[in-house]
Symmetry: none
Subunit: 188 residues, 4 copies
């Protein structure tokens, strides 16, 4: 509650970090950029996050919260296939953003993978959460190769995000999304 009195600066910083780091990349983004986006004085950032890396961590956390929120909502759908296809459709709905900035977690992962300081692990955790959820859906469909299918589906999404982004063409993601939906339908 002190938090709300303070205006939730920590939250604003985390949200701003998630957005700005996605748009500009980790290395290109300065603390001042994030502070400015969160409307927080630069000198004040350090009361909430000791280092830039902690802000990156917070941004990953934001993406994690968003992911878990999404999966919770999907879980309310009655059948695994419906859930998987809704997931795909969600990706397709974001194709304009993907064409401009790529997948938020994917680009973050790509950049952090170059490092070896623990931060690269954090995105891996997210990725595993998503893979696990997918695996459960495919397993529910009776597939023995559920994990492999989960990896294949996530691969397709991450790959098409990158291609959509590089070629600046959102329609590529639309077409691939349709293909993936047909693929899901054909599974059971």
């Amino acid at each position: 509650m002190t938090n709300s009195v303070r205006g939730g600066k920590r939250e604003r910083l985390a949200a701003a970090a998630a957005r700005v780091l996605h748009e500009q990349g980790v290395e290109k983004t300065t603390l001042a950029d994030i502070a400015h986006a969160a409307d927080v004085p630069v000198g004040n950032v350090y009361y909430y996050f000791k280092t830039k890396d902690q802000l990156v961590e917070a941004a990953i956390g934001e993406h994690g919260r968003a992911l878990r929120g999404l999966l919770d909502r999907l879980d309310e759908l009655p059948e695994p296939q419906r859930r998987l296809k809704a997931l795909v459709r969600g990706w397709v709905d974001q194709r304009e953003v993907a064409a401009r900035y790529g997948c938020p977690t994917g680009t973050l992962a790509s950049e952090l993978d170059k490092r070896a300081d623990g931060l690269d692990q954090a995105v891996g955790v997210l990725m595993r959460e998503l893979l696990d959820w997918m695996e459960r859906q495919f397993a529910a469909l009776g597939r023995e190769d559920a994990r492999e299918l989960a990896v294949a589906l996530l691969s397709s999404y991450q790959g098409i995000s990158l291609i959509t982004n590089t070629l600046r063409d959102p329609e590529l993601m639309k077409a691939e999304g349709d293909r993936l939906e047909r693929w899901i339908d054909a599974l059971s």
Copy 2:
């Protein structure tokens, strides 16, 4: 041959750039890093490349040369399916590198996509070359949806590269490669 005595610094710099930029990322890599890797004095780099961006461009060029060399070799194989599967197998062979640093062009694309200065286009050109080649193979198989299949295949590779890299598990790429080969076989 004077050139070879002097050691072909330009070539060494381009090769070093391709390697180091892949390993460390564009932003994290300093000119000194590249100069050092090429065993060239820092001040001398500018005799060959006026800006860091030109070195990045040269690195992309190196990847392009490698790609064209690979496709030329694949073209010697008699059947489209053999060619496509050989391509996939080549990717799988590089899985240790992918697990450590990701796909060279993919990570480069991901980082450059954040920018809007023409360099982002350069990787796009490479990507299109590869897509065009793939499309020709699928078309030779009599597929009307050749372009879509090309995009799907490249997506899978780019995506599995990222996942393999993030989860630091080369075996993921092995499994996905096997799956893709089976998929290619089933197309005919």
Copy 3:
């Protein structure tokens, strides 16, 4: 007063810039020179001035303040001729500095004129201010050719500053100053 305790770094930097740029010229002066002259850590300069050009601008501003202060004081003299001659006498009083470094604004103008980035305009504004003031004095003397006389007087000063500087002989300015005073007296 916190400001005065901290020492008004911005002001010190502007003052140091005005002095050092006059003594060494714009191109020959490094940011470190100015920082050192102002007793400010180099890295701190950028907190106050984002670029070297902004420091040059601040130096021009300092010269402008000095000029306006001088003209305000001259305006207190009762007659136009007295004012003009006091202006000339002020120049002559500075002849040692002129012999060593030239006229502060003149040398700045000369160097900046080579450029075309807006900074060259800034000195022009100063010059016009002085010309306007002179023109008013000549007009008050009933001269129809007031503007032309203003230009002539400023020319003589700028020219003799350059000659005094080049020949390293302050007495040249003394003699020219005397001549100009007689010229002013003869105008009535």
Copy 4:
């Protein structure tokens, strides 16, 4: 004659130096700029001029030759007043150049005056030559204050060059030239 076989590179370099240093200023001009303007390979410059300063010296020499040529031509005129007015008219004829780049020797002097390495003296020599010539004309008119008048006339020219340049207005020099001609007429 070896010289002419070589294509007079030394001369071309000196001429290019005179021109480019005038247009860009000493500090802003690189050796490569001059070499390029003279169409001489950069590495070759050092066979003719050991240092950049020697090129500056050569440029001053060029201005000296031009000055002596001009004065020789003026000396053919029958009367001192005609000679002085022709000198002024020559300046006015160059007013477009002056508005763009200032007086060649004046701007050079201004920049070199900041230094204390002998190069500043070289322009002084030129200036004295011109002053001496002017003094002889005024003396021929029977003026006891010939030197003072010489200094005054040169001051006016140098000053109006600077003002014309700073305010980017060639007409200022036209008006001042007319005034100076009237002043010369009124002397004898």
